[in-house]
Symmetry: C2
Subunit: 351 residues, 2 copies
């Protein structure tokens, strides 16, 4: 920005150059500049249809000062589920893969776990047996791999894992398996002055490790399932926080509006989800006055990604279950169901 201050006047080229190099792009300037540059192509990966139109119309209605549904900039909050809404969740949540991958290292530190279940089964590598682990087993694995260490140690482990782990179907990093059309919605909303939040059932600390790089969403805008930490000092008297197996927020189903109240303190104007875990977040968003945008992504594209429901006769699913009751509620309440097959020109940025 120094170029601007130093120059006698301000010209448009200098402003654009400064904006391009600025680490934080002031949101207000972008729409004006986009308009000044001529028609851009927002939501380029979306086919024309009711879903795309709903997004465009919502942003117009809430950001045009002449609109009866104008929303002051500071109240513009949009919340996004992550798994299955912003990136691939099948066949298994990436964070669960992380936890399973961490078991050998945890057992190396605590050899007494080697012959104890469910760790023994995980170490066996027997996929069929692992697939049969119960929720109780999974919880033991989560506690052992996600808690008990300093925050910085956890952060470093997650970053290391993210750099190496690959999704079995595409043989690409999980962080590449982000839906390009949703990236464009995030960007489009931000250009409309919306603050975009992730509201995920996944671990808050886990998602924070990549959300800024992958989605442009900073740590303070990630709301997720969160455990407590404990403040203490190392042997040199330096303070640090240890991750504890004490659940503060189960950020799923009713926990999503509860988490939104806790962490944001404002009701969203827009909410995006893809499963029964997002129902309450959308209900809560829709219960506010004025224009609200509620959208659910239906995975109906086995060829390009996955197809699962059980809504609309799609195969039932363990991960990201979208029931017919949710589909019916969406129709009754005027929420928009996005058809991956119909509404999206492409799925991933690398395509």
């Amino acid at each position: 920005m120094r170029r601007i201050a130093r120059s006698a006047g301000i010209d448009r080229r200098a402003l654009l150059a400064a904006l391009a190099s600025a680490p934080v792009v002031p949101q207000l300037f972008l729409p004006a500049i986009a308009r000044a540059q001529g028609p851009s192509a927002p939501l380029a990966s979306w086919n024309d249809g009711p879903a795309k139109r709903a997004i465009v119309e919502f942003v117009r209605a809430t950001t045009d000062r002449a609109s009866p549904n104008f929303v002051p900039p500071e109240e513009r909050i949009a919340t996004f589920d992550q798994d299955g809404t912003l990136w691939v969740e099948h066949p298994i949540y990436s964070q669960v893969v992380y936890c399973l991958d961490r078991v050998p290292a945890v057992v190396a530190q605590k050899p007494e776990l080697r012959d104890a279940e469910p760790f023994k089964t995980v170490l066996s590598g027997n996929r069929e047996a692992i697939a049969k682990l119960t929720m109780g087993d999974l919880e033991k694995i989560l506690v052992a791999t996600l808690t008990g260490m300093p925050v910085e140690e956890f952060d470093a482990e997650v970053k290391k894992w993210l750099a190496g782990a690959k999704h079995p179907r595409w043989n690409r990093a999980y962080t590449e398996l982000v839906y390009q059309p949703m990236r464009e919605v995030l960007q489009y909303l931000r250009e409309g002055g919306y603050k975009t939040y992730i509201v995920t059932g996944g671990g808050q600390d886990f998602v924070r490790m990549y959300a800024e790089k992958v989605y442009g969403i900073p740590p303070e805008q990630v709301v997720g399932t969160a455990g407590g930490t404990k403040y203490g000092y190392d042997k040199n008297g330096k303070p640090f926080l240890t991750k504890e197996p004490r659940l503060l927020l189960n950020d799923d189903k009713a926990g999503k509006p509860e988490g939104i109240h806790l962490m944001i303190g404002r009701r969203p104007y827009a909410a995006f989800g893809n499963s029964d875990g997002d129902r309450e977040m959308l209900e809560y968003t829709g219960a506010g006055a004025g224009a609200r945008l509620n959208m659910l992504l239906l995975h109906d594209d086995a060829a390009r990604e996955y197809a699962y429901g059980p809504a609309q006769g799609l195969p039932d699913s363990k991960v990201g279950r979208f029931t017919q009751a949710l589909f019916d509620e969406a129709k009754a309440k005027g929420w928009t169901v996005i058809s991956m097959k119909q509404d999206w020109k492409r799925i991933f940025g690398f395509e």
Copy 2:
């Protein structure tokens, strides 16, 4: 911003006019513009001295790209205790006054409390007896007056109370008893690209009701003692959240860095407090690499506000206790102690 888009070029006057009327002021532009306008008078209510110099030097060191301690804008986080740091906390926290004031209304709804302690004592109006209530009594009053109602009902009650309640010494609204020099620090840090947070032992939902108006700090940047909420539906099927007597975060002492991790997920670069309840927040802030600003306000001005410690021989205090041990830790760690008497030209904006 429309003026800019519509005009053929961009001139400085139009930019300044647009900025002045913009609801959200893009932070990056302000320092450049301030420089372009010539010397402004930041921190005008501060006397020249080590405290003011520490603030100015910190902002310079962390925002000048040529500085070895430059901090990227997205990492610029500053946290402020509220009671006794941003506004008056003596003779009693305003939120406690709120709770005591609410007791008659609560008893009217639940007559069985009329003859039960501690409600009976509060209703008696006997100040001496009220002053002797124990922490356990106070907790019962907090639970009865802060929980059990829908979030919106609580919000409305707090707003109503804030509009009418007056501090006994100045006979002014509590929201007027904000320290003008601290307002200027908030503004100065924001102009330097810092995101300013309140990190308070007070109730998160309570402080959120006025923080935006009084400090320019939006609800999502208020971290405080927080209880859970419960999602449910009214008789028309409309969802709402009820405040529950379930403590999620006790945002005091070690709870402050724990709350910062939960709600922000980044270590602050600057932290401001005034009592032993802020010690861990400052320790945690100071344990990060690079330039960090840690400041403690010492209330040593009985004439203009209050004088309490017991540090430095000041009278001991129940509210906002600043011990000699904390004072000594500040000196040992290079934190800056602000003397209200020496460092502040004026205390309040209305003076």
